[in-house]
């Protein structure tokens, strides 16, 4: 009887880990969108119910969750462009590694622009 192997984690490089991260952020964004569609649809039920649900979001925990959501979307969106370029640009496969680091730098820059302003809102800092 043959058996399927187990053992160490495969030590892939940037290509593999960017794919893993792409999947994780993709699933996370999907669950956000699911909840987001539901809470927005509540406005059809009654505006009061919608307001009540949205008000429960105004806590620091959800605020930090939104921070994570933006980070996930930034990575997923930019890395998505990288994946498209790998498939459709002739030199995409050659430059996939450098494109990954461009994605990371761009995502980080955009995130730095967003995070302080968002955190100020969440924690009611006066800036």
């Amino acid at each position: 009887m043959a058996k399927l192997p187990a053992g160490t984690l495969y030590r892939g490089k940037v290509g593999m880990w960017s794919w893993v991260l792409h999947r994780i952020t993709g699933v996370a964004i999907f669950f956000f969108l699911l909840v987001h569609t539901l809470d927005t649809a509540l406005v059809r039920v009654s505006p009061e119910a919608y307001d009540a649900v949205i008000n429960t979001y105004k806590t620091p925990i959800i605020g930090l969750g939104e921070l994570g959501l933006v980070a996930a979307i930034l990575f997923h969106g930019l890395n998505g462009i990288r994946v498209i370029l790998i498939d459709f640009w002739r030199k995409g496969a050659k430059y996939q590694n450098v494109m990954f680091w461009i994605v990371v730098v761009l995502a980080a820059l955009l995130f730095i622009g967003f995070a302080p302003r968002h955190l100020a809102h969440v924690f009611h800092w006066n800036v």
């Binding site: 399927l4 892939g12 490089k13 995409g92 996939q96």
Partner: protein, 246 residues
Amino acid sequence: MSAETKKIGEIPSYKVTLFVRRFNPEDGQEARWEDFDVEVFGTDRVLDALHKIKWEQDGSLTFRRSCAHGVCGSDAMRINGRNRLACKTLIKDLDMSQPIYVEPIKGLAVEKDLVVDMNPFYQAYRDVKPFLIASDKPAKERLQSAEERARFDDTTKCILCAACTTSCPVFWTDGQYFGPAAIVNAHRFIFDSRDEASEVRLEILNDKEGVWRCRTTFNCTEACPRGIEVTKAIAEVKQAILVGRR
């Protein structure tokens, strides 16, 4: 080893520990790690260490190898978490202060120790028709320009060792996927100007288990012992299906 004790021409030797993933289908036990201490030279490869274990310590250790020089493609295995040919991996290029982990390649059923069932892999290879299909009957050879030959040169280098296919996360979870090696060998004929069955092969690979399963993780390109740009070849087949670009 200090300079005084070292004789001229002597090759330095080291003691390394190898953890080998063992599995015996007849003892009813799960696969497990077994460690071996081996004295190796700086010029030794992982395959030499495995030979030493088999010849001097445990004759039951089972693995495939044939030419032992990176041509036959028999001894692909997972060395320290990456697919490599044991005969092309020098021990001194690994971190010798740490144990060396040797496992069978992933995604194919293990038959014993480091030997896996290669039949699904070969079947995917056969399915892409890896042979010249041409209707003309020339008196001599079929002519081809140097440029036309260069177009598919990279993918002629494949030795069917399965290092690429079994490094692919998609293949691990979906054994029906053709896998990088089969696509590389289809690429070799799809882009050959003498071949007349490109459309047939593109149709075979334009399947839900064909090229579209590729998620461009580049594990295959990194694993290939012949340095074939596997992911690039797959991308070219995708392009050929989509827009007919050859």
